[in-house]
Amino acid sequence: MLELKNIAKSFNNQAVLADIDLTIENHKTLAIVGPSGAGKTTLLRIIAGLSAADAGEFTWQGKATTPQQLRKDGVIGVVFQGFELFPNMTVLKNITLAPTLQGVSVEEADKRARDLLEQLDLPDQADAYPFSLSGGQKQRIAIARALALKPEILLYDEPTSALDPNLRHSVANLINAFKAQGMTQVVVTHDMEFAQEVADTTFTVKKLGGER
Protein backbone atom coordinates (compact mmCIF):
# COMPACT_ATOMS: atom_id res chain seq x y z
CA MET A 1 0.00 0.00 0.00
CA LEU A 2 1.34 3.38 -0.97
CA GLU A 3 0.08 6.34 1.00
CA LEU A 4 0.51 9.99 0.13
CA LYS A 5 -0.12 12.65 2.75
CA ASN A 6 -0.48 16.40 2.46
CA ILE A 7 1.03 16.57 -0.99
CA ALA A 8 1.37 20.12 -2.28
CA LYS A 9 2.75 21.47 -5.49
CA SER A 10 2.78 24.86 -7.11
CA PHE A 11 4.23 26.25 -10.30
CA ASN A 12 5.34 29.89 -10.32
CA ASN A 13 3.48 30.58 -7.05
CA GLN A 14 0.31 29.14 -8.52
CA ALA A 15 -0.86 26.26 -6.34
CA VAL A 16 -1.79 23.22 -8.42
CA LEU A 17 -2.11 20.61 -5.70
CA ALA A 18 -2.74 21.24 -2.00
CA ASP A 19 -3.32 18.86 0.91
CA ILE A 20 -3.69 15.78 -1.24
CA ASP A 21 -4.17 12.61 0.79
CA LEU A 22 -4.27 9.49 -1.31
CA THR A 23 -4.04 5.78 -0.66
CA ILE A 24 -3.13 3.30 -3.37
CA GLU A 25 -4.40 -0.09 -2.23
CA ASN A 26 -2.59 -3.25 -3.23
CA HIS A 27 -4.13 -5.24 -6.10
CA LYS A 28 -6.72 -2.54 -6.79
CA THR A 29 -7.18 -0.05 -9.56
CA LEU A 30 -7.38 3.57 -8.54
CA ALA A 31 -8.65 6.13 -11.01
CA ILE A 32 -7.52 9.73 -10.60
CA VAL A 33 -10.08 11.95 -12.26
CA GLY A 34 -10.85 15.63 -12.50
CA PRO A 35 -11.21 18.45 -15.00
CA SER A 36 -8.34 19.16 -17.34
CA GLY A 37 -5.75 21.43 -15.79
CA ALA A 38 -6.66 20.29 -12.28
CA GLY A 39 -3.30 18.65 -11.71
CA LYS A 40 -4.05 14.95 -12.31
CA THR A 41 -0.98 14.44 -14.42
CA THR A 42 1.12 16.49 -12.00
CA LEU A 43 0.03 14.15 -9.23
CA LEU A 44 1.00 11.13 -11.34
CA ARG A 45 4.36 12.69 -12.14
CA ILE A 46 4.96 13.23 -8.45
CA ILE A 47 4.20 9.58 -7.70
CA ALA A 48 6.49 8.55 -10.58
CA GLY A 49 9.29 10.72 -9.21
CA LEU A 50 9.43 12.89 -12.34
CA SER A 51 8.35 15.98 -10.50
CA ALA A 52 9.15 16.81 -6.90
CA ALA A 53 6.33 17.71 -4.52
CA ASP A 54 6.83 20.92 -2.56
CA ALA A 55 5.56 19.20 0.56
CA GLY A 56 4.10 15.89 1.65
CA GLU A 57 4.92 12.41 2.91
CA PHE A 58 5.08 9.03 1.22
CA THR A 59 4.61 5.70 2.99
CA TRP A 60 5.20 2.41 1.21
CA GLN A 61 4.17 -0.84 2.97
CA GLY A 62 4.16 1.05 6.26
CA LYS A 63 7.56 2.71 5.88
CA ALA A 64 8.38 6.31 5.05
CA THR A 65 9.92 6.67 1.60
CA THR A 66 10.37 9.02 -1.35
CA PRO A 67 9.31 8.68 -4.98
CA GLN A 68 12.99 8.59 -5.99
CA GLN A 69 13.55 5.65 -3.66
CA LEU A 70 10.48 3.87 -5.01
CA ARG A 71 11.79 4.32 -8.51
CA LYS A 72 15.22 3.00 -7.59
CA ASP A 73 13.59 -0.01 -5.96
CA GLY A 74 11.60 -0.69 -9.13
CA VAL A 75 8.25 -0.29 -7.38
CA ILE A 76 6.70 2.02 -9.97
CA GLY A 77 6.12 1.48 -13.67
CA VAL A 78 4.78 4.22 -15.93
CA VAL A 79 2.83 4.14 -19.19
CA PHE A 80 2.99 7.62 -20.70
CA GLN A 81 0.21 9.32 -22.58
CA GLY A 82 2.43 9.51 -25.68
CA PHE A 83 3.93 6.07 -24.92
CA GLU A 84 7.50 7.38 -25.42
CA LEU A 85 8.84 4.23 -27.00
CA PHE A 86 12.44 4.54 -28.15
CA PRO A 87 12.17 4.94 -31.95
CA ASN A 88 15.73 3.74 -32.61
CA MET A 89 15.13 0.30 -31.12
CA THR A 90 13.04 -2.70 -32.07
CA VAL A 91 10.03 -3.57 -29.96
CA LEU A 92 12.00 -6.37 -28.30
CA LYS A 93 14.92 -4.06 -27.50
CA ASN A 94 12.54 -1.44 -26.12
CA ILE A 95 11.31 -4.03 -23.64
CA THR A 96 14.64 -5.69 -22.79
CA LEU A 97 16.89 -2.62 -22.61
CA ALA A 98 16.25 -1.66 -18.99
CA PRO A 99 16.23 -5.23 -17.57
CA THR A 100 19.50 -6.15 -19.31
CA LEU A 101 21.14 -2.92 -18.14
CA GLN A 102 20.04 -3.82 -14.64
CA GLY A 103 21.75 -7.18 -14.72
CA VAL A 104 19.12 -9.58 -16.11
CA SER A 105 20.70 -11.92 -18.68
CA VAL A 106 19.83 -11.30 -22.32
CA GLU A 107 18.21 -14.74 -22.67
CA GLU A 108 16.04 -14.25 -19.63
CA ALA A 109 15.04 -10.70 -20.63
CA ASP A 110 14.24 -11.87 -24.17
CA LYS A 111 12.12 -14.72 -22.89
CA ARG A 112 10.19 -12.49 -20.53
CA ALA A 113 9.68 -9.90 -23.28
CA ARG A 114 8.37 -12.52 -25.69
CA ASP A 115 6.05 -13.88 -23.02
CA LEU A 116 4.72 -10.38 -22.42
CA LEU A 117 4.24 -9.79 -26.15
CA GLU A 118 2.38 -13.09 -26.37
CA GLN A 119 0.20 -12.13 -23.44
CA LEU A 120 -0.49 -8.71 -24.97
CA ASP A 121 -1.40 -10.26 -28.30
CA LEU A 122 1.62 -8.91 -30.18
CA PRO A 123 3.75 -12.01 -30.72
CA ASP A 124 4.81 -11.08 -34.26
CA GLN A 125 5.96 -7.55 -33.51
CA ALA A 126 9.19 -8.28 -31.64
CA ASP A 127 11.43 -7.16 -34.50
CA ALA A 128 9.30 -4.24 -35.68
CA TYR A 129 10.26 -0.62 -35.05
CA PRO A 130 7.78 1.60 -33.21
CA PHE A 131 7.06 3.84 -36.22
CA SER A 132 5.35 0.93 -37.98
CA LEU A 133 2.91 0.23 -35.15
CA SER A 134 -0.59 1.56 -34.50
CA GLY A 135 -1.36 3.63 -31.41
CA GLY A 136 -2.96 0.71 -29.64
CA GLN A 137 0.02 -1.52 -30.38
CA LYS A 138 2.44 1.15 -29.18
CA GLN A 139 0.53 1.43 -25.94
CA ARG A 140 0.71 -2.30 -25.32
CA ILE A 141 4.46 -2.24 -26.05
CA ALA A 142 4.80 0.59 -23.55
CA ILE A 143 2.89 -1.53 -21.01
CA ALA A 144 5.13 -4.51 -21.75
CA ARG A 145 8.21 -2.32 -21.33
CA ALA A 146 7.01 -1.18 -17.92
CA LEU A 147 6.00 -4.70 -16.86
CA ALA A 148 9.37 -6.14 -17.87
CA LEU A 149 10.82 -4.54 -14.75
CA LYS A 150 8.16 -6.25 -12.61
CA PRO A 151 6.84 -3.13 -10.88
CA GLU A 152 4.47 -3.34 -7.93
CA ILE A 153 2.40 -0.41 -9.13
CA LEU A 154 1.67 0.52 -12.72
CA LEU A 155 0.74 4.14 -13.50
CA TYR A 156 -1.11 5.14 -16.67
CA ASP A 157 -1.31 8.74 -17.82
CA GLU A 158 -4.51 9.28 -19.86
CA PRO A 159 -4.42 5.83 -21.45
CA THR A 160 -7.38 6.49 -23.73
CA SER A 161 -6.65 9.99 -24.99
CA ALA A 162 -4.19 9.07 -27.76
CA LEU A 163 -6.28 6.15 -29.01
CA ASP A 164 -9.15 5.52 -31.33
CA PRO A 165 -12.37 5.81 -29.24
CA ASN A 166 -13.38 2.24 -30.04
CA LEU A 167 -10.16 0.96 -28.45
CA ARG A 168 -11.24 2.39 -25.10
CA HIS A 169 -13.04 -0.76 -24.17
CA SER A 170 -10.12 -3.06 -24.96
CA VAL A 171 -7.77 -0.91 -22.84
CA ALA A 172 -10.26 -1.26 -19.99
CA ASN A 173 -10.31 -5.03 -20.49
CA LEU A 174 -6.52 -5.12 -20.40
CA ILE A 175 -6.37 -3.12 -17.17
CA ASN A 176 -9.01 -5.36 -15.61
CA ALA A 177 -7.10 -8.46 -16.74
CA PHE A 178 -3.97 -7.19 -15.00
CA LYS A 179 -6.01 -6.53 -11.88
CA ALA A 180 -7.20 -10.13 -11.95
CA GLN A 181 -3.51 -11.11 -11.92
CA GLY A 182 -3.00 -9.03 -8.77
CA MET A 183 -1.48 -5.86 -10.26
CA THR A 184 -1.84 -2.55 -8.45
CA GLN A 185 -2.74 0.16 -10.94
CA VAL A 186 -3.32 3.89 -11.01
CA VAL A 187 -5.09 5.40 -13.99
CA VAL A 188 -5.17 9.12 -14.60
CA THR A 189 -8.06 9.96 -16.89
CA HIS A 190 -10.51 12.71 -17.69
CA ASP A 191 -12.90 10.10 -19.06
CA MET A 192 -15.42 9.32 -16.30
CA GLU A 193 -17.02 6.44 -18.15
CA PHE A 194 -13.65 4.79 -18.64
CA ALA A 195 -12.80 5.39 -14.98
CA GLN A 196 -16.00 3.60 -13.94
CA GLU A 197 -15.11 0.67 -16.13
CA VAL A 198 -11.74 0.06 -14.50
CA ALA A 199 -11.67 1.66 -11.06
CA ASP A 200 -12.21 0.11 -7.65
CA THR A 201 -11.84 3.55 -6.16
CA THR A 202 -11.89 6.97 -7.68
CA PHE A 203 -9.99 10.00 -6.49
CA THR A 204 -11.05 13.39 -7.73
CA VAL A 205 -8.50 16.17 -8.07
CA LYS A 206 -10.22 19.51 -7.76
CA LYS A 207 -9.11 22.56 -9.59
CA LEU A 208 -7.66 25.12 -7.18
CA GLY A 209 -8.38 28.81 -7.30
CA GLY A 210 -11.67 28.38 -9.15
CA GLU A 211 -12.28 28.73 -12.85
CA ARG A 212 -10.11 31.10 -14.78
Binding site: R71, M89, A98, L101
Partner: protein
Amino acid sequence: MKYVLEILPALLSGMKLTLGVFFLTLIGSIPLGMLLSVGLMNKAKNILGKLINWFLTAYVWLFRGTPLLLQLIFVFYGLPLIGIVFDRFNAAIFAFILNYAAYFAEIFRGGFGAIEEGQFEAATVLNLTRWQTLRYVVIPQVLKIVLPSMGNEIINLVKDSSLVYVIGLGDLLRAGNVATARDVTLVPLVLVGAIYLIMTALLTWAQKKVEKSFSYYR
Protein backbone atom coordinates in the same frame (compact mmCIF):
# COMPACT_ATOMS: atom_id res chain seq x y z
CA MET B 1 48.94 13.10 -70.89
CA LYS B 2 52.68 13.01 -70.36
CA TYR B 3 52.45 16.45 -68.76
CA VAL B 4 49.67 15.27 -66.47
CA LEU B 5 51.81 12.38 -65.25
CA GLU B 6 54.66 14.82 -64.76
CA ILE B 7 52.80 17.12 -62.40
CA LEU B 8 50.67 14.46 -60.74
CA PRO B 9 53.22 13.57 -58.01
CA ALA B 10 53.34 17.22 -56.93
CA LEU B 11 49.55 17.42 -56.89
CA LEU B 12 49.23 14.18 -54.95
CA SER B 13 51.71 15.33 -52.36
CA GLY B 14 49.67 18.52 -52.05
CA MET B 15 46.57 16.38 -51.68
CA LYS B 16 48.24 14.50 -48.85
CA LEU B 17 48.53 17.73 -46.90
CA THR B 18 44.93 18.64 -47.76
CA LEU B 19 43.77 15.26 -46.45
CA GLY B 20 45.94 15.68 -43.35
CA VAL B 21 44.23 18.97 -42.53
CA PHE B 22 40.86 17.39 -43.32
CA PHE B 23 41.17 14.32 -41.10
CA LEU B 24 42.98 15.96 -38.18
CA THR B 25 40.36 18.70 -38.15
CA LEU B 26 37.54 16.15 -38.07
CA ILE B 27 39.20 14.07 -35.36
CA GLY B 28 39.68 17.16 -33.23
CA SER B 29 36.55 19.15 -33.92
CA ILE B 30 33.79 16.52 -33.78
CA PRO B 31 34.48 15.37 -30.19
CA LEU B 32 35.23 18.95 -29.14
CA GLY B 33 32.01 20.16 -30.76
CA MET B 34 30.03 17.46 -28.98
CA LEU B 35 31.56 18.44 -25.67
CA LEU B 36 30.88 22.13 -26.28
CA SER B 37 27.26 21.40 -27.20
CA VAL B 38 26.79 19.72 -23.81
CA GLY B 39 28.20 22.86 -22.20
CA LEU B 40 25.95 25.09 -24.31
CA MET B 41 22.90 23.14 -23.15
CA ASN B 42 23.71 23.23 -19.46
CA LYS B 43 21.05 25.23 -17.71
CA ALA B 44 22.83 25.38 -14.38
CA LYS B 45 21.66 28.36 -12.41
CA ASN B 46 24.83 28.77 -10.35
CA ILE B 47 27.46 31.33 -11.22
CA LEU B 48 29.92 28.77 -12.65
CA GLY B 49 27.29 27.26 -14.93
CA LYS B 50 26.27 30.69 -16.17
CA LEU B 51 29.89 31.65 -16.71
CA ILE B 52 30.59 28.51 -18.75
CA ASN B 53 27.47 29.07 -20.79
CA TRP B 54 28.35 32.69 -21.43
CA PHE B 55 31.90 31.77 -22.39
CA LEU B 56 30.82 29.05 -24.83
CA THR B 57 28.19 31.27 -26.43
CA ALA B 58 30.84 33.94 -26.95
CA TYR B 59 33.22 31.34 -28.38
CA VAL B 60 30.67 30.11 -30.93
CA TRP B 61 29.73 33.67 -31.83
CA LEU B 62 33.38 34.61 -32.37
CA PHE B 63 34.35 31.63 -34.48
CA ARG B 64 31.21 31.53 -36.57
CA GLY B 65 31.07 35.29 -36.86
CA THR B 66 34.53 35.94 -38.31
CA PRO B 67 36.13 34.54 -41.48
CA LEU B 68 38.13 31.35 -41.14
CA LEU B 69 40.77 33.06 -43.27
CA LEU B 70 41.11 35.79 -40.65
CA GLN B 71 41.38 33.17 -37.91
CA LEU B 72 44.18 31.40 -39.81
CA ILE B 73 46.10 34.61 -40.35
CA PHE B 74 45.52 35.62 -36.75
CA VAL B 75 46.89 32.35 -35.37
CA PHE B 76 49.92 32.12 -37.65
CA TYR B 77 50.92 35.75 -38.22
CA GLY B 78 49.19 37.45 -35.30
CA LEU B 79 49.80 35.32 -32.23
CA PRO B 80 53.62 35.35 -32.56
CA LEU B 81 53.42 39.10 -31.86
CA ILE B 82 52.32 38.20 -28.33
CA GLY B 83 54.77 35.35 -28.05
CA ILE B 84 52.61 32.39 -29.10
CA VAL B 85 54.31 30.67 -32.01
CA PHE B 86 52.90 27.74 -34.00
CA ASP B 87 54.55 26.12 -36.97
CA ARG B 88 52.51 26.41 -40.16
CA PHE B 89 50.79 23.06 -40.02
CA ASN B 90 49.94 23.25 -36.31
CA ALA B 91 48.62 26.77 -36.76
CA ALA B 92 46.32 25.51 -39.52
CA ILE B 93 45.06 22.55 -37.48
CA PHE B 94 44.57 24.72 -34.40
CA ALA B 95 42.49 27.32 -36.26
CA PHE B 96 40.50 24.71 -38.20
CA ILE B 97 39.63 22.65 -35.13
CA LEU B 98 38.48 25.70 -33.17
CA ASN B 99 36.46 26.96 -36.12
CA TYR B 100 34.78 23.68 -37.04
CA ALA B 101 34.13 22.75 -33.39
CA ALA B 102 32.02 25.91 -33.13
CA TYR B 103 29.87 24.82 -36.08
CA PHE B 104 29.63 21.23 -34.88
CA ALA B 105 28.68 22.42 -31.38
CA GLU B 106 25.71 24.29 -32.84
CA ILE B 107 24.70 21.30 -34.96
CA PHE B 108 24.82 18.95 -31.97
CA ARG B 109 23.00 21.44 -29.78
CA GLY B 110 20.19 21.48 -32.33
CA GLY B 111 20.22 17.68 -32.45
CA PHE B 112 20.02 17.28 -28.68
CA GLY B 113 17.33 19.93 -28.53
CA ALA B 114 15.20 17.93 -30.97
CA ILE B 115 14.95 14.98 -28.59
CA GLU B 116 11.69 15.29 -26.71
CA GLU B 117 11.63 15.55 -22.95
CA GLY B 118 9.41 12.45 -22.89
CA GLN B 119 12.29 10.27 -24.09
CA PHE B 120 14.39 11.36 -21.12
CA GLU B 121 11.46 10.79 -18.77
CA ALA B 122 10.80 7.33 -20.17
CA ALA B 123 14.45 6.47 -19.59
CA THR B 124 14.25 7.90 -16.07
CA VAL B 125 11.26 5.81 -15.02
CA LEU B 126 12.99 2.74 -16.47
CA ASN B 127 15.81 3.52 -14.05
CA LEU B 128 18.43 4.14 -16.71
CA THR B 129 21.41 6.15 -15.53
CA ARG B 130 22.24 9.49 -17.15
CA TRP B 131 25.01 7.84 -19.17
CA GLN B 132 22.87 4.86 -20.24
CA THR B 133 20.16 7.28 -21.38
CA LEU B 134 22.65 9.16 -23.54
CA ARG B 135 24.37 6.05 -24.85
CA TYR B 136 21.32 3.97 -25.82
CA VAL B 137 18.46 6.41 -26.27
CA VAL B 138 19.65 9.93 -27.00
CA ILE B 139 22.92 9.80 -28.94
CA PRO B 140 21.67 7.31 -31.58
CA GLN B 141 18.70 9.59 -32.24
CA VAL B 142 20.85 12.72 -32.27
CA LEU B 143 23.22 11.16 -34.80
CA LYS B 144 20.37 10.49 -37.18
CA ILE B 145 19.14 14.07 -36.82
CA VAL B 146 22.54 15.73 -37.33
CA LEU B 147 23.79 13.56 -40.20
CA PRO B 148 22.64 15.80 -43.07
CA SER B 149 24.09 18.98 -41.58
CA MET B 150 27.26 17.19 -40.50
CA GLY B 151 27.68 15.93 -44.06
CA ASN B 152 27.39 19.47 -45.39
CA GLU B 153 30.03 20.77 -43.00
CA ILE B 154 32.39 17.90 -43.72
CA ILE B 155 32.14 18.49 -47.47
CA ASN B 156 32.71 22.18 -46.85
CA LEU B 157 35.84 21.31 -44.89
CA VAL B 158 37.44 19.66 -47.93
CA LYS B 159 37.16 22.94 -49.81
CA ASP B 160 37.91 25.18 -46.81
CA SER B 161 41.18 23.31 -46.32
CA SER B 162 42.50 25.22 -49.35
CA LEU B 163 42.59 28.34 -47.14
CA VAL B 164 45.84 27.06 -45.61
CA TYR B 165 47.38 28.44 -48.83
CA VAL B 166 47.53 31.81 -47.14
CA ILE B 167 49.92 30.71 -44.42
CA GLY B 168 52.25 29.10 -46.96
CA LEU B 169 51.35 25.44 -46.64
CA GLY B 170 51.86 23.25 -49.69
CA ASP B 171 48.33 21.91 -50.14
CA LEU B 172 46.64 20.69 -53.30
CA LEU B 173 45.63 24.15 -54.47
CA ARG B 174 49.14 25.56 -54.02
CA ALA B 175 50.65 22.62 -55.92
CA GLY B 176 48.35 23.35 -58.83
CA ASN B 177 48.93 27.09 -58.73
CA VAL B 178 52.70 26.64 -58.67
CA ALA B 179 52.59 24.36 -61.70
CA THR B 180 50.29 26.75 -63.59
CA ALA B 181 52.55 29.72 -62.93
CA ARG B 182 55.67 27.79 -63.86
CA ASP B 183 54.44 26.06 -67.01
CA VAL B 184 51.93 28.67 -68.15
CA THR B 185 49.08 26.21 -68.70
CA LEU B 186 45.58 25.75 -67.33
CA VAL B 187 45.94 21.99 -67.02
CA PRO B 188 47.14 21.90 -63.37
CA LEU B 189 44.24 24.06 -62.15
CA VAL B 190 41.74 21.93 -64.07
CA LEU B 191 43.28 18.85 -62.49
CA VAL B 192 43.08 20.42 -59.05
CA GLY B 193 39.41 21.13 -59.63
CA ALA B 194 38.87 17.55 -60.73
CA ILE B 195 40.59 16.18 -57.62
CA TYR B 196 38.42 18.35 -55.34
CA LEU B 197 35.35 17.14 -57.22
CA ILE B 198 36.38 13.51 -56.77
CA MET B 199 36.95 14.02 -53.04
CA THR B 200 33.60 15.74 -52.51
CA ALA B 201 31.83 13.16 -54.69
CA LEU B 202 33.26 10.37 -52.54
CA LEU B 203 32.12 12.16 -49.39
CA THR B 204 28.66 12.76 -50.82
CA TRP B 205 28.42 9.06 -51.61
CA ALA B 206 29.60 8.14 -48.11
CA GLN B 207 27.10 10.58 -46.61
CA LYS B 208 24.22 8.94 -48.49
CA LYS B 209 25.42 5.51 -47.37
CA VAL B 210 25.58 6.53 -43.73
CA GLU B 211 22.22 8.27 -43.86
CA LYS B 212 20.75 5.16 -45.40
CA SER B 213 22.17 3.01 -42.64
CA PHE B 214 20.14 5.13 -40.21
CA SER B 215 16.92 4.92 -42.20
CA TYR B 216 15.69 1.70 -40.61
CA TYR B 217 13.54 3.75 -38.27
CA ARG B 218 11.68 7.03 -38.39
